[in-house]
Amino acid sequence: MRWCVAAVLSALATIRVGSAAAQGDEDLDLIPSEVLEDSTDGQAVEELAQPPLSSRLFLEDAFSLWSPSTSVPVAYPAELVSWQNRLSLDVNLRWKPWKTLVINFSDRLSAFAEQGNPILSSDTFRNALREGYVAWQPPADHTYFEAGRVNIRKGVGLGFNPTDFFKTRTLVGQASLDPSVLRQNRLGTLLLRWQAIWSGGSASIAFAPKVADSPDLSNGEPGRFDPRFDATNDAFRLLCSIGFDVWDLNPEILAYFELGRSKLGLNLSRPVGDAVIAYAEWAGGPQSHLITRAIEYGQETGTLPPVAPIDPPNLSRKFRSDLVTGFSWTVATAVTLNIEYHYHQAGFSRANWRSWFDVGGAPEASPFLAAELWYLRAYASDQQEPISRHQLFLRAAWPRAFVTDLELTGFAFVSLLDGSVLSQVSASYYLSSVWTASAYASANLGDDRSERGSFPQRLNSILQLTRYF
């Protein structure tokens, strides 16, 4: 009897196996024979042999076109170009001559051609020495020492980083206005840093000495081969930070010391469900209003006269906060959205904007007055801080959009004071493993008396081609 049962079970099992095998074969038909036959094992082995020198090198050409200037309520003080071409050689080197020592070098050499300038002039070539430092780790230790020009980036936000204290005055020419792209080409700061990293967190102290006086804002682009230490090291600065993990928040606490600009900072991030990361970044300390600081800086550097034609508002130095709070949300494992709110307490209020337009747009306003008003905005940009007190930042990134080699990105800064928008859409197409073509289109949207609508050039487009080596 037992053997009869076994025979029936066996027959049933055979039937089930047959149907399962058919299902398995169906799945197998999805694998092209070329995939099974192709062998790439050797390439991987070769790649794993790590040389002591690692590098990232590319050549990039970016052609930018702007829409013609339009009349705006506050006249723009400079002649604006309608086109520019930038050819850059970008180098990143990391050399590890010994197990305990790493030498880092990062640099971009660019050649500019633009409307109104001869092909070869003193402004044609500009070099940006981003980093050059030595990192040393004592044997069998968990501490690190660095000396040289180092790019220290802090903050969890995408559109604004209040805790990125070394960001001021560090930007150099870049094609995209996307904040995440802007950070790819910024100057490091001359400093000494100690850092300890352990299994539950890390702590660091960085000291940046003053090596030169503050430069004039008009010296916004690096001249020739000037390393621009005057921009990155015009004050004694100290940054202490400690990071650890508690409640899955990954907090990082920062204390920044600079004469007249000391601040505390905090970064937090936490997953919410499986598709959302929520984050917040805060910094606060005794600080003057943006307008007051801009006028003081302009007078210190001689750009503005000792007695400014516009009076700084009566906004005394007091504790002011900057806050970024937002989240990233990945939709359908394809598109990642970021939505952030930015609060900049020292920034322009609605009243400040009204005053800016009323003073600058008055029939009797002198060109010098307009230049001073625009100086306030240039200062905010140079400090990489928002000019308005409240804004939204929205960003969407879609890798493998429609086809595998296309990546689409878009972002918008929306002023919550006047509704004006700076927006950009971009497309990057990977022509091959070494060639990438990109296109950017950006627009300032809003009425004439708004933050973004008051720019004389409303539209900008860029075509960029990159060759990696």
Partner: protein
Amino acid sequence: MFHKVPTFRNDPVFRTAPMYRRYFNASLLALLGAVLAPAQAVAQATPSPSDIIAASDNVKNPGQPFRVGLTLVEYKRGQAHDAVKLTVHSKFEGKGGQYKNLVRYTAPARDVGKLVLLNEGNMWFYDPASKASIRISAQQRLVGQASDGDVLTVNLARDYTPKLIDEPTIADADKQQRSTWHLDLVASTDSAMYAHLELWVEKETYRPIKAKFYSDSNRVLKLAFYRKYEEQLGGTRPTETIIVDAIDSNLVTKISYSDFRAEQVREEWFQRDYLPRFTED
């Protein structure tokens, strides 16, 4: 009937998993029972779904800290297209029962130096160009045909609750018939990469043969086939995974594993603040 179990007695996973000891005891009893009552012995010798998954994890993952080189080649309609090369450094974390991973891009040139860190469910992406470490969600790990989630060393037994569906004989990627356990795995932790997956594990060897990965909405995202088993770091492990996109089946990615090496993986490598200074020895 006694199933041959891979030799992982010295493996930390084995040492920290009492279920294996239970399984061996059960197997010995099953062997004894087989002599006395063959039909009943078959039922008794079948290990629990959890034990099958744990043993299958041990086939895929070395128990010691290690590094391995990965080459990901993407095929469109059978034509090789993009190639990405990675080095993965993994270390088993006994306390959490999961692996810590650090992935470094070595090709193509535009991605060289980018890093992905997975530590106890937290995942960070570091771009050396912007010096930014960005925390990414479980869903963001799955962006792309072969995603970050597919190249990391993970213990499925830690993140999923398995259920045995049936015991079919199926063809593997090389069209060899394999007698398998067919299991359904449902995510049981927040750090699970997929909401649910099906896994076919070969009896006798506990080798994973095939897997189907599902989205939250129960849509099949991709199929994976494990092949080219070779002796690596004390075990016979798959050195190739073929991933078929379930939505666009013209897209196939082959992941080749090479140069397995045991290494001293330092604990601070798995800290976010270490990412900017990571260099391979």
